[in-house]
């Protein structure tokens, strides 16, 4: 447990720094940035306490907000997906989740992609609605969410592939 705790602390700080120092300076086509820090929420151990995950997600989002001067938009979106995670897990993995045996290194690619896509889409829609905060610009919100989601999913999947091979 102690070992696991230190691993996730390292993950937390690495993802925050990578997000604010690298991924937020990509600005592909002027405004498209990926937000792969949500990998932390996605890959958090399934068996662990839900209340801890919600709280840590809030801290994760808030530290990103602190760096980017964005108020509470990342915190809000992160808390939402942390709360909705069991439902998405159930939808994406079906019976494996019911038996509490989801291991992210060992599940098949299709359901993993499904899981990331759902999580990212929900996160980004909330994120950009909070950022723009104007219902009359719904087209802009959806457009930003769609492009950033594609980018985030690509980056997240590549990160999981690269790092899971190393540990084997």
């Amino acid at each position: 447990m102690n070992n696991l705790f230190s691993i996730y602390t390292v993950h937390f700080f690495t993802l925050v720094l990578a997000q604010v120092l690298i991924f937020n300076n990509i600005n592909f086509l002027g405004y498209i940035n990926p937000y792969p820090y949500i990998l932390f929420i996605a890959l958090f151990p399934v068996k662990n306490n839900r209340i801890i995950l919600i709280f840590i997600s809030f801290l994760l989002g808030l530290s990103i907000d602190l760096f980017l001067d964005t108020g509470g938009i990342h915190a809000g979106a992160s808390v939402c997906i942390a709360y909705a995670r069991p439902v998405i897990l159930k939808f994406a993995f079906g019976t494996i989740y019911e038996h509490q045996t989801v291991k992210f290194n060992a599940v098949d690619f299709g359901s993993k992609l499904m899981y990331f896509t759902l999580l990212t889409a929900i996160h980004h829609v909330i994120l950009f609605s909070f950022e723009v905060f104007n219902i009359s610009k719904i087209i802009l919100i959806l457009q930003k969410a769609l492009f950033s989601s594609i980018f985030t999913i690509l980056i997240s999947i590549s990160i999981t592939i690269v790092f899971s091979r190393k540990t084997r």
Binding site: L62, D69, T70
Partner: protein, 270 residues
């Protein structure tokens, strides 16, 4: 009583989620209103320090283009100096210099941002360099924004690329003035509204600051008119302004302090 406690224990996940979600909503709303975001800003020693050390490395990559911009400004200032009507004679004492209207400070941008709807920059000067809220920030080419929050060594700048920013601007060739704002679309263009219909507007005309706001002095460049049209009521122009500044490439900036600002605001509030 026991039922209440049972209810809290049963729904503890949802209650925590709801509490934290409301908290982040409050932070978001605060960040959308001018000068209200109290806690969540990047002008503290931790985030400022991280950005500063990154900037120490990444500034090397833009040295060439930044040197070019500075050399270009030196050329312009030298041309001004040599063509000035009053020669900078050592015997000449400028009595206005004792009571200067505007003070200038220089600073470096350590965090730039232009892809959000509300962009905020971070610079490496703060309270220790006597930078305060509501000072103007410009570059050699034109305006950038207004100082928002300050810490001891860092300050955040509310960029003109921020949907909550409102700056008074006017046409260069006549004194018709309006409000400069941003619709959140592209970082090259901002929008100027409330220019009355009687003003003669032409594509390519220069837009400058109006000096009415006691933040920016008059005659600081903003951009040129790219397109214009009358608004729905057909009384005012809506003008698309192409900025002089490349907001995606900022490094050296100047902070302007209006020395008489206190006096002006006191007078206006009486």
């Amino acid at each position: 009583m026991q039922q209440i406690i049972n209810f809290i224990i049963r729904n503890k996940n949802f209650l925590l989620f709801f509490l934290l979600f409301c908290l982040s909503l409050v932070f978001t709303i605060q960040s959308h209103s001018y000068h209200k975001s109290k806690f969540i800003n990047s002008a503290n020693f931790l985030t400022g320090g991280v950005y500063n050390s990154l900037n120490n490395i990444s500034s090397y990559f833009s040295l060439k283009s930044q040197n070019y911009i500075l050399a270009e400004e030196n050329r312009r200032l030298r041309a001004l100096l040599n063509n000035a009507s009053i020669s900078p004679d050592s015997a000449y004492i400028d009595s206005t210099a004792f009571n200067k209207l505007y003070k200038f400070y220089n600073a470096n941008v350590i965090k730039n941002s232009y892809s959000l709807a509300d962009n905020i920059l971070t610079i490496n000067k703060g309270k220790n360099d006597s930078i305060k809220q509501d000072f103007g920030v410009i570059s050699s080419k034109g305006i950038i924004g207004i100082i928002d929050k300050t810490s001891n060594n860092y300050a955040t700048v509310l960029s003109i690329l921020n949907t909550t920013s409102k700056i008074s601007a006017q046409l260069k060739k006549s004194n018709h003035f309006g409000t400069l704002s941003w619709n959140g679309n592209t970082p090259e263009n901002v929008q100027l509204t409330d220019i009355p219909k009687v003003a003669k507007v032409k594509i390519g005309d220069t837009i400058i600051t109006s000096g009415r706001s006691s933040i920016f002095p008059k005659n600081i460049g903003i951009g040129v008119i790219k397109a214009f049209q009358l608004d729905a009521a057909e009384n005012y122009y809506e003008i698309e302004v192409n900025l002089f500044n490349d907001m995606t490439n900022l490094e050296h900036v100047y902070i302007i302090e209006n020395v008489n600002k206190q006096e002006i605001t006191n007078l206006e509030n009486e």
